[in-house]
């Protein structure tokens, strides 16, 4: 599978988006329980201050990304299209909490030595996986009893078309990423880390390889350009030739995968005391006047980012948060940038509509395209007809929703739409089975 790359912004240096006039910071920017809000209306906050505290083990702290006054605690429509609680802050100045080291000096000596301290720091700093899945990093770094991790895998693949945030970060913050990787290695108590980068980014591969020589145990690997090379299971297979079994986690094959963006956030948290309240976002699209990469404060409305890129093009028909293969279509430009926002793509109207779905001609291209060797045509039919038990036996829950099947289908069939429906239903059925026992 080779979707057109359209990496329009791979040469654009990351700029700082001006601090917005106001932000709306959702309490759920991660997989797991939403954080509990700990500020009230009219409170004064500073950038880096905790405004919502993690609730339960799989959860994450949320920090203010700006300084100013909490104007309201209300709902905001996020990238999923659902409403969720958010803290609205009107910006006054740009004051950060004192503990943050705002200098640009690169600190190479790791400040925290023990695994526990680092994991605690990740939890306190609200670090989540920045590749898009936003799984809380402290959970991933805690190796449960009975499990073993022998190698850390770092994801610099960025196989989604259009997106370049990880690519630019590797080029411009390569050393920080490598220090971050060393910190992650310490947390996981491993001596080996492998960074995988798709070979369509030769500059990043060369740069990271050169920098990595100064770091013990870290190697950089060029990977074949092939969507979805950056999917966790595919990346593990490509780098260390282990297949994560169905329904299992990378730890079951003794590895853990973190994104390069996460490694950078870990560097900032541990070395600079800076919680995760800004991230690199690519703003792009074929008609966009000035596509680019920006450090954006969490909670900034997408509207501000679009304005920085020269405004919304006349022909815009769809706004996607994330990549074109797995991203979510937004219904408004008021949606805030969150920890998982890797890019915003503006699609021209003619690219924003689907073609009419035709009968399946059984060409088997979806079977060929499926990275997990499932049979998308069959899973779609089973879901369509409500045959969920059979769909479960055909391993519908293995589907990672990479979109390759729908992308390749010559009959333009909505394969993934139905597979999602089937997958959700099967997961629900399995839960009900467990609760009955």
């Amino acid at each position: 599978m080779h979707p057109p790359e359209n990496k329009l912004t791979s040469g654009s240096e990351i700029q700082y988006l001006p601090v917005p006039a106001g932000v709306a910071i959702p309490v759920s920017q991660h997989i797991g329980t939403p954080a509990a809000i700990v500020v009230n209306k009219d409170d004064k906050v500073r950038a880096g201050q905790v405004i919502a505290r993690s609730k339960g083990y799989v959860s994450s702290n949320i920090h203010s990304s700006v300084s100013g006054k909490v104007t309201k605690i209300d709902t905001v429509i996020d990238s999923t299209g659902y409403k969720q609680q958010a803290v609205f802050i009107t910006v006054e100045g740009d004051e950060w909490i004192e503990s943050i080291d705002r200098s640009s000096e690169i600190l190479t000596d790791i400040r925290l030595q023990s695994s526990e301290e680092i994991i605690k720091k990740c939890l306190d700093s609200g670090i989540v996986g920045l590749g898009g899945a936003t799984f809380p990093s402290h959970v991933k770094l805690t190796v449960p009893a009975g499990k073993r991790c022998d190698v850390l895998i770092v994801n610099g693949v960025e196989c989604e078309p259009y997106l370049t945030s990880d690519h630019r970060l590797m080029l411009e913050r390569g050393e920080e990423i490598l220090i971050g990787v060393s910190i992650l290695m310490k947390a996981l108590r491993v001596t080996r880390a492998m960074i995988g980068i798709e070979s369509n980014k030769p500059d990043a591969i060369a740069h990271m390889t050169r920098l990595a020589t100064a770091f013990e145990g870290i190697s950089v690997h060029a990977l074949r350009v092939k969507y979805p090379q950056g999917a966790e299971k595919q990346l593990i297979k490509a780098l260390i030739n282990r297949e994560v079994p169905s329904g299992k986690l990378p730890l079951d094959v003794n590895t853990v995968v973190h994104n390069v963006g996460t490694a950078f956030a870990v560097y900032e948290a541990v070395q600079k005391n800076k919680p995760l309240f800004e991230r690199v976002v690519t703003i792009t699209g074929k008609s966009v006047a000035a596509p680019g990469n920006y450090f954006v404060r969490i909670g900034t409305p997408v509207r501000d980012l679009i304005a920085a890129a020269g405004g919304m093009p006349e022909d815009t028909g769809k706004i996607v948060s994330g990549g074109p293969m797995m991203g979510k279509a937004l219904n408004s430009t008021e949606v805030p940038v969150v920890k998982g926002t890797s890019g915003i793509i503006l699609f021209p109207a003619e690219e924003s509509l689907r073609s009419e779905s035709m009968p399946c001609i059984r060409c088997a291209k979806c079977v060929e395209a499926c990275a997990l060797n499932l049979e998308p045509y069959l899973l779609m039919t089973l879901s369509e007809k409500g045959l969920f038990e059979r769909a479960e036996n055909e391993r519908i829950t293995d589907c990672m929703e990479c979109g390759s099947c729908s992308f390749i289908c010559p009959a333009h069939r909505p394969l993934l739409d139905y597979i999602r429906l089937g997958k959700t239903t099967v997961i629900k059925m399995a839960r009900e089975r467990v609760s009955k026992q």
Binding site: P161, G317, K318, V320, P324, G327, A329, E351, R362, I408
Partner: protein, 333 residues
């Protein structure tokens, strides 16, 4: 800017492949064979092919428009492919009315009664061909001698195909080595200079089409290679055991419709299996059945029957032969 934004679930990109592009890709792949057949069989090839294509498209149109009253999809190219393949499977002197009947059986009975494109269990062109073979055995087995445009359409000089010469000869106890002198040399057979159906004679043209299909990723290698491979291995074994009583593998490969069948008929999307493992089993089944029919059956040629028989196994193969899922076996590197 429109005020409304489109929203839909991912993916938000499409590979731009369409059913129509795939079908016309197959048509392009068939062109070399079409040109060589016109070169060898002249007007007959042109008339039979045109009538076949026109009637396949017309029948599909009439049925969609007036019987099932669904949107007419004749421009998707599938009726065109069926028409071409049907013509490729018959002699170039076949009377027009027989061609029309064959087209009717192909499109109306084998395809549209099952729900049209994507739903038919058997290869429509082959159902039409076999129907004609059984109903019009004389017309379907009198093969014009290739003489280009000198070949008359209706009262062409006919001769036997290499396959039937060898079949008859072996049956009468003549050793294969002697029969070789009665059939065209392999080079001629490779170029298509022999009696046979319109589209099956020129191996070289079919192979060019095969390369195009692979290059454009319209088909994968699995089915054609396993059909040809199993045929060559099976006939090779028979030939090695008794070279007097059995034809050599090269003869089996170049004579008759095995290449047309392997490359264009067996690979029909709708009626072939959905994963590589099943495709290989299906292809081997076709190769082996073809040899069985050719060597021990009543007909000199068995490709059509072999493919139709294997078509019947496709649903069961799709149900029981599964791709090896990712992570099926825990592998440690």
């Amino acid at each position: 800017m429109s005020n409304l934004l489109n929203v839909s679930p991912s993916p938000h990109a499409h590979g731009k492949e369409t059913t129509r592009k795939l079908m016309y890709g197959v048509v392009i792949a068939l062109l070399p064979a079409l040109f060589t057949s016109i070169f060898y069989f002249g007007w007959g090839a042109i008339i039979v092919t045109s009538v076949s294509v026109a009637s396949c498209i017309l029948f599909e149109y009439l049925i969609q428009k007036f019987m099932i009253r669904k949107p007419v999809t004749i421009t998707d190219g599938s009726a065109l492919v069926t028409g071409l393949l049907l013509a490729f499977n018959v002699p170039s002197n076949l009377p027009v009315h027989v061609v029309i009947i064959g087209a009717f059986v192909s499109v109306a009975i084998a395809k549209m009664t099952f729900g049209g494109l994507g739903s038919n269990p058997f290869n429509p062109a082959l159902v039409g061909r076999v129907f004609m073979l059984i109903s019009f055995p004389v017309q379907m087995t009198s093969w014009p001698v290739p003489k280009g445009f000198e070949t008359a359409y209706t009262d062409a000089v006919t001769g036997a195909t290499p396959l039937s010469i060898v079949k008859e000869g072996l049956k009468n106890g003549e050793p294969f080595q002697q029969l070789i002198s009665q059939i065209p040399a392999p080079a001629n057979m490779f170029l298509g200079n022999m009696g046979g159906s319109i589209g099956e004679v020129a191996a070289v043209a079919l192979l060019i089409g095969f390369i195009w299909l692979l290059f454009k990723k319209i088909i994968t290698w699995h089915i054609p290679v396993s059909v040809i491979g199993s045929l060559v291995i099976f006939t090779g074994i028979l030939w090695l055991v008794n070279p007097e009583k059995n034809a050599d593998p090269l003869f089996h490969l170049l004579a008759g419709g095995i290449l047309l069948g392997a490359i264009f008929m067996a690979t029909d999307y709708v009626t072939s299996p959905m994963n590589p493992k099943a495709m290989i089993i299906y292809g081997c089944g076709i190769g082996i059945l073809t040899v069985i029919i050719r060597v021990w059956g009543a007909y000199p040629e068995g490709v059509s029957f072999a493919i139709l028989i294997m078509n019947a196994f496709v649903p069961i193969m799709n149900t029981y032969i599964k791709p090896e899922r990712f992570g099926e076996e825990v592998k440690h590197g």
